[in-house]
Amino acid sequence: MAILELRDVSFKYQLGKETVLENINLSIEKGEFVACIGRNGAGKTTLCSIMRGLIPNFQNGTMTGDVFLNGQNMKELSLGEIAQKVGFVFQNPFIQVSGIKKTVFEEIAYGLENLGVPRDEMIERTNAIITQLKIEYLRDKHPMQLSGGQSQRVALASVLVMDPEILIIDEPTSQLDPQGTEEVFETIHILKQRHKTIILVEHKIDLVSEYADRVILIDQKHILLDGPTSEILTDISLLDHGVSLPQVALLALRVEEETGKKLDRIPSVIEDAVIEFSKLV
């Protein structure tokens, strides 16, 4: 049984002239790492909000279709129940701050306070996530006085500490430097190893190709492509939808063009590229 399933979901914002998403059908299995790609404004964030239940509960508009969480229709679940099962990291980390806590430690622990976690366990879990995300140096800082990158890590920590079954992450590295980006992806990878279900919106295709199991492409209100990462991210049609291919895939295409030789398959990650290119030598 799918952990998260969308059946014929369409949505139109209250002030929007057109639907943002139309007849979306999507089934995500437990432990899958699904990356959602597409050009800006394609509806990726809207899809995330629907999967988290923020639409239609918090954002006005017309939604049709159903979303099922562990086989149960989300309409039958309370907001609190969804919060415990589905974590959501926003694209803009500054809005993820509660606004009432004075230190990063307290800010991260806030979600656990809301879930009624006992104090000792709260401290233990908060310390663990701070160590995992290597943000010990931010521990006593005021959450409102962080840089973009720091806020992004704290936002991620604030959701991870709640240990949800499903984690929806909307562009978690948009304000991070390359090293910070790599560290966030390593954290996401650890979560995947712990059999968490991860849905990630990300423009950094090279990292998506390295970590995700499955990729969906959203454009023109629909899911246009859905399949294994190595298959989708080597599909040249992605370029027509405003999405780049991974660097190694672009290199492979260029090699084919320059040498006139066909590779057995276009690689999407470095390891595959090494294998394919060695066949040419």
Partner: protein, 251 residues
């Protein structure tokens, strides 16, 4: 930060002090406000090392109101009470001064007790103490976020003003120029603050705010035996004072 005796008290003990002072002020004349409550609050502020911000804030909160009320009461007083001061057309009578003192005394009590409370109380601890007496966490969040968002709004207002400056709008200079620059900044400030509120509601939802469980707290605050003694002493003293006031009115 070193915590003083008053700061260490349980927030509701201090809230009870504020409440008792207000009740006492309502049933007393000006002498209680000016000669008892204000000096008492100042003394507590000195003991806790917050005298400077206390004086600045009390003065800032009261000066405009007190000056206006005094001016109105003194200049509009038509009683036949003894004249205290007379110069040209200005005549200040005893009754005018007494009326002004009586009317400003409750403001003085209100300002001094509340400012002392917030100078010696962590707002979050106050909210936790309210939740401990089963106040809805939603109400306490609204109070807490409002109090903590005020400085953020000031910051945002400055950013908007700087953005206007960057576009060549004069925001500094005389009062007229500053006023002309300030009012147009209110629109974006209010609209962005409303948008922030909507976003914050979603943020809270994501952080499990509406989870139907008993909330816990990282910060631990507990009543001490001192708190219990002070709390009940305040109630007893206020009740005794009111009883005495009623007795003196009746007989």
């Amino acid at each position: 930060m070193k915590k003083g005796f008053i700061t260490k008290l349980y927030p509701l003990t201090k809230a009870m002090f504020v409440g008792c002072m207000l009740i006492i002020g309502l049933v007393s004349d000006w002498r209680v406000g000016y000669l008892v409550v204000l000096p008492l609050c100042l003394l507590f502020a000195i003991i806790d090392g917050v005298a400077k911000p206390f004086i600045i804030k009390v003065f800032g909160a009261l000066v405009v109101f007190v000056v206006f009320i005094f001016a109105f009461k003194i200049f509009l007083d038509k009683s036949a009470s003894p004249i205290v001061f007379q110069y040209a057309f200005i005549t200040i009578r005893q009754q005018g001064i007494l009326d002004a003192l009586n009317q400003t005394s409750i403001l003085t009590i209100l300002a001094s007790a509340i400012i002392l409370f917030f100078e010696t109380t962590d707002v979050e601890e106050f909210m936790i103490s309210l939740q401990q007496i089963n106040m809805s966490h939603m109400i306490s969040y609204v109070i807490l976020s409002t109090l903590q968002m005020i400085p953020e709004m000031f910051k945002k207002s400055k950013i908007i003003m700087q953005a206007q400056q960057a576009r060549g709008i004069e925001t500094e200079g005389n009062l007229w120029l500053r006023t002309k620059a300030f009012f147009p900044s209110l629109g974006p400030l209010i609209i962005s603050s409303i948008a922030d509120l909507e976003e914050r509601a979603i943020t809270l939802e994501v952080r499990g705010f509406s989870a139907d469980v008993k909330k816990t707290s990282y910060k631990e605050i507990n009543k001490t035996p001192y708190d219990r003694t002070i709390f009940w002493s305040l109630i007893a003293a206020t009740a005794a004072y009111i009883g005495w006031r009623i007795f003196t009115w009746l007989f």
